[in-house]
């Protein structure tokens, strides 16, 4: 079932005389329950794409449908409503509120949805178990490791049961062990809870956890890989091959 449909979106920056095409006619779609990675070098337009989907930015032209609704036409208060009800965010730098404890950070996502207070603590408990952070719930962000922080951020993203979880370089600030733990959690969320995840990364290893990888170069769709029945190692090798084609700068990131 098609959840997200991107139709010929274009995003230009700058003026007529000095135009930068961040996204130049990209179309693809994501099905419900998929785990998609978007890969590309820095400046390829992948973050712009993510910003357009997350309604933080608005494309110059084209449409984005989520669950059949054209989100590029949303305005003002509708945008915030859409963001908090339909989407979950995971950022490279966690974006946790440093004044709140882990459990408060997670519960905030529910309380701004005006969920009844008595439902919140049990929900936090459940999601914390799913992400393996039950023991850090009462800690403040500065008392946690990077991996724990990112899992708390992930818990905040999925607790509202969003249609789509958007992750922007989720492993970017993590060491390899924490990164692996986090990605295993993503796989678990995707396979067991049927969460649809869309992740932007320039790291092939991270991308290899996805079920599909979309490559972007200079604002255009470059290639697409599906994992199919491959093992993660085989899929990783395939990704590496494409990355080699993409150009030097991405492989550097390995």
């Amino acid at each position: 079932m098609e959840l997200l449909k991107i139709q010929q979106i274009i995003k230009y920056y700058g003026s007529r005389s000095n135009l930068t095409k961040a996204i130049d006619d990209i179309s693809f779609s994501v099905d419900k329950g998929e785990f998609v990675a978007i890969m590309g070098a820095s400046g390829s337009g992948k973050t712009t794409l993510l910003n357009c989907i997350s309604t933080i930015d608005r494309p110059t032209s084209g449409s984005i449908f989520l669950d059949g609704e054209d989100i590029t036409s949303l305005k003002g208060r509708q945008l915030n409503k859409f963001r908090r009800e339909k989407l979950g965010f995971i950022f490279q730098d966690f974006n946790l509120l440093d004044t709140l404890t882990a459990s408060e950070n997670i519960s905030l996502a529910l309380s701004i949805l005006k969920k009844p207070a008595e439902q919140i603590p049990p929900a936090v408990k459940t999601v914390a178990e799913q992400l393996g952070i039950s023991d850090v719930l009462d800690k403040y962000p500065y008392q946690m490791s990077g991996g724990q922080k990112q899992r708390v951020a992930s818990a905040r993203a999925i607790i509202t049961e969003p249609k789509l979880v958007l992750a922007d370089e989720p492993t970017g600030a993590l060491d390899s062990k924490s990164a692996r733990q986090l990605l295993e959690r993503f796989t678990y969320l995707n396979s067991e809870l049927d969460t649809t995840i869309m992740m932007v990364t320039h790291d092939s290893f991270t991308a290899s956890y996805a079920s599909r990888v979309i490559f972007i170069k200079d604002g255009k769709l470059f290639h697409e890989l599906s994992r199919g029945s491959d093992s993660r190692k085989q899929f990783f090798d395939k990704i590496i091959d494409v990355v080699a084609l993409l150009g030097g700068d991405v492989s550097d990131a390995l």
Binding site: N80, R83, L87, L96, T99, A109, S111, I120
Partner: protein
């Protein structure tokens, strides 16, 4: 570059500097306005008494100006250091680019000079404008005649303002250069990124501290306001120290307590942004306990000063109308051999007829007669002495109560023309006359017991079972601590203490009365020129001279109360406004910088889809509670402080208290509320500044 950078810097950080500049501006303007009063009062057409008060007031105002400049100086140093801290990264960039520290200091110096000159010039312009309003107030408060509006400009106040503020800016420059020359590059770079370490105190410690502090404060309140035990200076000092320390402790513990209380109410804690708001507030209070304490105490002093001074003027005015119903009063005795018996005789002897200066006049004689306080009080003496020790104005225990005859007292009432109760006594009766509210109930108790007194060999019993509310001598307040009224027969042959000679001028109208007063005083001076006139009028203390005469006129009393009222109002306004802008500025600077540090938090909230409305509501609550908290405690302090001051000067602060409270509230609302609004709107634009749409 030396000139361009500072200009650009100021332009760029205009938002940070706006509050600073605004505060300097008000500071300069207020300083000018109050120092210009001297010039404005110089040309006022007022009586000699008022003129003396004006001179005295100007001396006090310029002394207070020194204090004010110290307060403002500290505020400026605090604010500029605070703004400096926010710019450490910028300095780090200059230094890494190879700029010398001297150079950075020079840039700062130039910035300070720019801001200083700007604020001085603008502040003086505003000050001159405001001082025109002030001159209307001066005329009004001193009840002088305002013939026509005259634009006043005070050169001396201008020069003084420039010198004082110049000095303050100089201090700021020195501080800035010292702090630049001392700092290390690594500190400058890393300080910008310090992560917020939240030290959460153990909840039990917070709760214990809070309630212990509240209990101590409660005790101090009770001690100064309600307890009957005597108040010595030491006790008051201890209570002030307790008040200040507990204020600190309350602010220190309140954030923890607040947090716990909010968290325990799960339903509201998990609603919307409440948990974020509560956390923000509690961390902010935690980081500025000391500033909050100082602000709270400054607000407390301000509220007390303003409300007391506004009601003081009114009280004195109304008191004058009520308790000074005659135009003049001379207290007189002549114990020399062959001395004249009465005031009137002295006037006549000097060639003045009563018709020369007045229309109606009456003499009352004050007798000794040997009734001591103890004789009257009986078993209630203990209570009486306790009140006496509390500093209430009473007839000292052990001394004789003054006595007047009933016919003379009633004649005095006739002269006053007021509808006070006339006293009627049988030959074996007496009445007690008093109007000091604290002591009246005690007299009432003693009288209810049916005490008998022996006056001049006559046994007298009380005719009324209560004190009669009244007075003999004129004043501006309820100041009769107790006299007895005896039948005329009983006073025959009693020891004469004084003769009080009062009268009314025949003239009516303000100007005519003033003239009559002058003529009367001239006659008095002339007729009583070989009398001692500087004695303290009292019960039966030592009599300092054989011939004594002291005069008091309604206009003198009026001028005095005008002077006292005006002086109080000006001083209170001066100090109050300076304290208010200091508190407002400190809170505003703190709040704005906290908001600047928190912009990322609001970004996060926005990213996870929080409604803009919820975010601004949270910001409003944060700012509101931040400003309200010290004000709240200050108001509670004030309630106790008022009770205390009521106890101290009981016969003051009574009339028009509500209206003076309203006036105080308006002034506070204007200045403090102004700072709050500016802060709120500026922080709102700050957190909105970064969002793209």
């Amino acid at each position: 570059m030396l000139f361009k950078l500072p200009l650009l810097n100021i332009k760029r950080s205009l938002r940070d500097y706006a509050i600073y500049f605004f505060t300097l501006l008000i500071g300069v303007a207020v300083f000018y306005v109050f120092n210009a009063i001297e010039t404005q009062t110089a040309y006022l057409d007022v009586s000699k008494v008022t003129d003396d008060f004006i001179k005295q007031m100007n001396t006090i105002l310029s002394a207070v100006s020194v204090f004010v400049s110290v307060v403002l100086g500290m505020l400026i140093v605090y604010a500029s250091r605070f703004l400096m801290k926010r710019r450490h990264r910028e300095f780090a960039i200059y230094l890494t680019l190879g700029m010398s520290k001297t150079r950075v200091s020079a840039i700062l110096l130039f910035e300070t000079i720019l801001i200083g000159l700007g604020s001085l010039a603008a502040g003086l312009v505003i000050g001159v404008g405001l001082s025109q309003l002030m001159s209307a107030m001066v005329v009004n408060l001193f009840e002088a005649d305002m013939t026509s509006f005259k634009f006043t400009f005070s050169g001396s106040a201008t020069v003084k303002t420039i010198i004082y503020f110049g000095l303050m800016y100089l201090v700021v420059m020195i501080f800035n250069s010292i702090s630049i020359s001392r700092c290390k590059l690594i500190d400058l770079i890393s300080r910008g990124r310090r992560s917020e370490e939240l030290r959460l105190r153990s909840p039990i410690v917070s709760i214990v501290m809070f309630f212990a502090a509240a209990a101590a404060l409660g005790w101090a309140y009770w001690r100064v306001g309600w307890s009957k035990a005597p108040l010595t200076n030491n006790v008051i000092l201890v209570c002030i120290v307790i008040g200040s320390v507990t204020t600190y402790l309350l602010f220190r513990s309140v954030s923890g307590l607040l947090l716990r209380a909010a968290m325990s109410r799960k339903r509201s804690y998990f609603r919307g942004l409440n948990c974020f708001t509560v956390r923000q507030i509690s961390s902010r209070i935690n980081t500025m306990v000391l500033s909050m304490t100082i602000i709270c105490l400054m607000l407390f002093v301000t509220i007390c000063l303003l409300s007391v001074s506004f009601s003081l003027r009114r009280t004195l005015n109304e008191g004058l109308q009520k308790y000074c119903p005659v135009d003049f009063e001379i207290s007189y005795y002549d114990k020399t051999e062959g001395g004249l018996k009465s005031c009137e005789d002295v006037f006549r002897a000097a060639g003045y007829e009563p018709e020369d200066y007045c229309d109606r006049h009456v003499s009352v004689t004050m007798y000794g007669g040997g009734v001591k306080v103890e004789d009257l009080m009986g078993s209630h003496l203990q209570e009486y002495t306790e009140i006496e020790q509390n500093g209430i104005f009473v007839v000292p225990s052990g001394s004789t109560l003054p006595a007047y005859t009933v016919s003379e007292y009633n004649a005095l009432l006739d002269l006053r023309g007021t509808d006070d109760e006339r006293i009627s006594l049988k030959d074996d009766e007496f009445a007690m006359l008093c109007n000091v509210d604290d002591i009246m109930p005690v007299f009432d108790k003693a009288l209810a017991d049916g005490t008998e007194i022996e006056f001049n060999g006559h046994k007298l019993k009380n005719a009324y079972d209560k004190c009669v509310d009244g007075f003999v001598l004129i004043s501006v307040s309820r100041g009769n601590p107790g006299v007895i009224i005896v039948p005329d027969k009983a006073a025959e042959g009693a020891k004469v203490m004084y003769e009080h000679y009062s009268g009314m001028y025949s003239e009516t109208g303000k100007k005519a009365k003033r003239k009559a007063d002058e003529r009367f005083l001239a006659a008095f001076e002339d007729a009583f020129k070989d009398f001692n006139t500087d004695s303290v009028l009292g019960g039966d203390g030592e009599e300092p001279a054989d011939k004594y005469a002291g005069e008091l006129t309604k206009l003198q009393l009026g001028d005095e109360s005008i002077g006292v009222g005006a002086m109080g109002t000006f001083l209170a306004l001066y100090i109050g406004i300076v304290f208010l802008i200091s508190s407002g500025a400190i809170l505003a600077l703190k709040q704005l910088s906290e908001t600047a540090d928190s912009t990322t938090r609001y970004e996060i909230l926005r990213k996870i889809g929080t409604d803009e409305r919820d975010i601004t509501r949270s910001l409003f609550r944060q700012t509101g509670i931040f400003f309200l908290l010290p004000m709240l405690l200050a108001c509670i302090h004030t309630a106790a402080g008022m009770k205390f001051s009521k106890r101290l000067f009981d016969f003051f602060i009574k009339e028009g208290f509500v209206s003076s409270m309203i006036f105080t509230a308006v002034i506070i609302l204007l200045i403090y509320g102004g700072y709050f609004l500016i802060t709120y709107f500026m922080s709102r634009s700050m957190i909105r500044g970064r969002s793209d749409r």
